[in-house]
């Protein structure tokens, strides 16, 4: 052993009283024994030669050979490094990256007028003027064929129906499911379907269809009546809670083939996360509830300010602690924000891009225009091709280069970059006018949240490792 060693890039955390390292940028998670922990403590305060580190361990009663092993293991995992910094080599993702998911915007029309809507609200990027309001069957057919053609090598692909309000074009949804299944079957493949809806138009017949075809359902819902009705309103200003409540109950009761998820948008007027969760999970019976702060420019009335966001995180922590209790009993808690993060930590993913947008996932507008994801659908500025002619590779490359973590210098010193990679492209565009800009307004929250989830991950790994099998399979778009 020659030269001096210093700490590699990692985030140290504890779970159930044990010490772990989250290695960056690999995303590997290792548990430290006492000797390895002692080395980390020593090196954290300055560089030391291998001999000094061995001597330090020997003085603590560890055999010399064993001590050398400790150092070697830590070097192999890059918890310890020496010499000049090694810079990673940048690669563009392969140009023929196979599609996994198509988000089909069946219509850009909606029967609600939620104030914060990214499609219609003040920060919208869509330019729907002069474009079809409803997708027709021809375009949908071409989209299905496009997906199957561009996803070669994948046995199972995914179509998510989206809007506008998806169910305003339910007849087309039905046709697409029939056509998609038929086409996939001819190639001995499968298509998995899901949809997002505001639930206002659900009927027993629709619920039966969704259940019979194993279509996953996500309902956009913001909590109990007083909170939900603040912003999720009809065009006359009337809240939608009373309309959807019985429909949601019927959906959860009758649709038994897939978990039903609630997706909550947090705004300045509704940050009582625990109360929202209790209502949606326990009163209404959703299987999973996921939260996301509204995407908006910071000066909107419904934008959550820093103080509000700290409050949100505090409640996230309370629910996360509850999640851990459930997990240690082997039960699912239903707080999606923890499950989703645990799944990524368990795989140890290290993202080049924050999500699959423009890579394994694309959005398709009613006109058949391709967008990086559903949030950019119908935007001329972000369009990248058409389902009939395929993806515009030039525009795709430009989008992906901007969004690549390598170009986001601000992120290069952040330990949370393997899971965050700079955050949502769309949010970046709304905030900073560039899809490739890191979302610097939520760095502290991302690090705080990732640390919380690492703690939970460590505790589960220590005390009930079999629970992590839930996350064995990689979900990727």
């Amino acid at each position: 052993m020659t030269g001096t060693y210093r700490t590699g890039e990692f985030h140290a955390f504890t779970g159930a009283g044990r010490r772990f390292l989250y290695l960056v940028p690999s995303g590997g998670i290792f548990e430290l024994d006492e000797a390895a922990g002692a080395v980390i403590d020593k090196v954290t305060h300055g560089e030391h030669s291998g001999g000094e580190l061995v001597a330090h361990l020997v003085a603590r009663g560890i055999g010399a050979e064993d001590a050398a092993d400790v150092i070697e293991e830590m070097v192999q995992s890059r918890a310890l490094v020496s010499g000049a910094p090694v810079l990673g080599v940048t690669h563009d993702p392969p140009a023929d990256f196979p599609l996994q998911t198509l988000v089909l915007n069946l219509t850009n029309q909606c029967n609600l007028s939620c104030e914060y809507c990214y499609e219609f609200g003040e920060d919208k990027v869509a330019t729907p003027e002069g474009k079809p309001k409803f997708m027709d069957f021809e375009t949908a057919k071409t989209s299905v064929e496009f997906l199957l053609d561009k996803s070669r090598g994948r046995r199972s692909v995914h179509i998510t129906f989206f809007g506008g309000e998806t169910l305003m074009n339910f007849p087309l949804l039905k046709q697409v499911v029939g056509y998609g299944n038929e086409q996939a079957k001819a190639q001995s493949r499968t298509i998995d379907f899901s949809l997002t809806t505001n639930a206002t138009l659900l009927t027993p017949a629709i619920i039966e269809f969704l259940s019979a075809n194993r279509i996953g359902v996500t309902v956009s819902m913001d909590g109990p009546k007083d909170m939900h009705d603040k912003l999720r309103v009809f065009s006359n200003g009337k809240g939608s809670y009373d309309i959807i409540e019985p429909k949601v109950r019927a959906l959860i009761q009758s649709h038994r083939t897939r978990p039903i998820t609630a997706r909550v948008t947090l705004t300045s007027g509704g940050t009582d996360v625990v109360r929202i969760f209790r209502h949606l999970k326990h009163d209404l019976g959703f299987h999973e509830v996921g939260f996301a702060p509204v995407t908006t420019s910071p000066d909107r009335l419904y934008a959550i300010n820093d103080r509000g966001m700290d409050g949100v995180l505090e409640q996230f922590h309370a629910l996360a602690a509850e999640y851990l209790e459930y997990a240690l009993r082997g039960e699912m808690h239903g707080f999606s924000n923890v499950s989703d993060t645990l799944a990524e930590l368990h795989q140890g993913i290290s993202k080049s891009h924050p999500c699959g947008a423009g890579l394994g996932l694309v959005g398709v507008g009613p006109s058949g225009d391709i967008a990086p994801c559903h949030r950019f659908v119908d935007s001329d500025r972000h369009a990248m091709g058409h389902v009939s002619s395929g993806i515009d590779r030039g525009k795709q490359t430009d989008f992906l280069r901007r969004g690549n973590i390598d170009t986001k210098y601000d992120c290069h010193t952040c330990w949370a970059r393997p899971v965050c990679a700079g955050g949502c492209h769309h949010e970046a565009f709304v905030r900073y006018g560039d899809t490739g800009h890191p979302n610097l307004h939520y760095c502290d929250w991302i690090r705080d949240w990732t640390d919380t989830c690492l703690g939970i991950y460590g505790a589960i790994a220590a005390e009930r490792p079999e629970f992590l099998e839930y996350f064995a399979e990689r979900k990727a778009a």
């Binding site: 590997g28 810079l87 140890g348 210098y409 991950y457």
Partner: protein, 110 residues
């Protein structure tokens, strides 16, 4: 590994990698030669005229002071350094190594 316990899937892959024969890794083909051909700034994106991935200059493949000579020695184009062919042949004569001696570069008043 004995002292570091691989917990997640990525950690297990790192562990597997560490177990591979180090000699086999050393036997891997070296990178092809001539990746950086010094042909002047208009032909190649010269390493040095940039910052490293951390936004600093510490990790560049050659010291940033080396940039001086990219224009001075091997470029015929008038640049922001004195021209050594005709007017200022001694501009850098006291500067043996750009890394340590750049302060000894002569001042020039054209």
């Amino acid at each position: 590994m004995k002292h570091l316990r691989a917990v997640n899937k990525k950690a297990r892959r790192i562990e597997d990698l560490a177990l591979q024969d180090v000699v086999a890794l050393q036997g891997m083909a070296p990178p092809p030669p001539g990746l950086h051909v010094p042909m002047g700034c208009t032909f190649v994106f010269t390493p040095g005229w940039e910052v490293d991935s951390a936004g600093g200059a510490a990790g560049l493949c050659q010291p940033l002071e080396r940039d001086i000579y990219d224009c001075y020695v091997d470029c015929y184009w008038p640049a922001q350094v004195p021209d050594h062919l005709n007017n200022y042949p001694d501009w850098a004569s006291k500067c043996a190594s750009a890394m340590s001696d750049w302060r000894s570069l002569d001042l020039v008043f054209p």
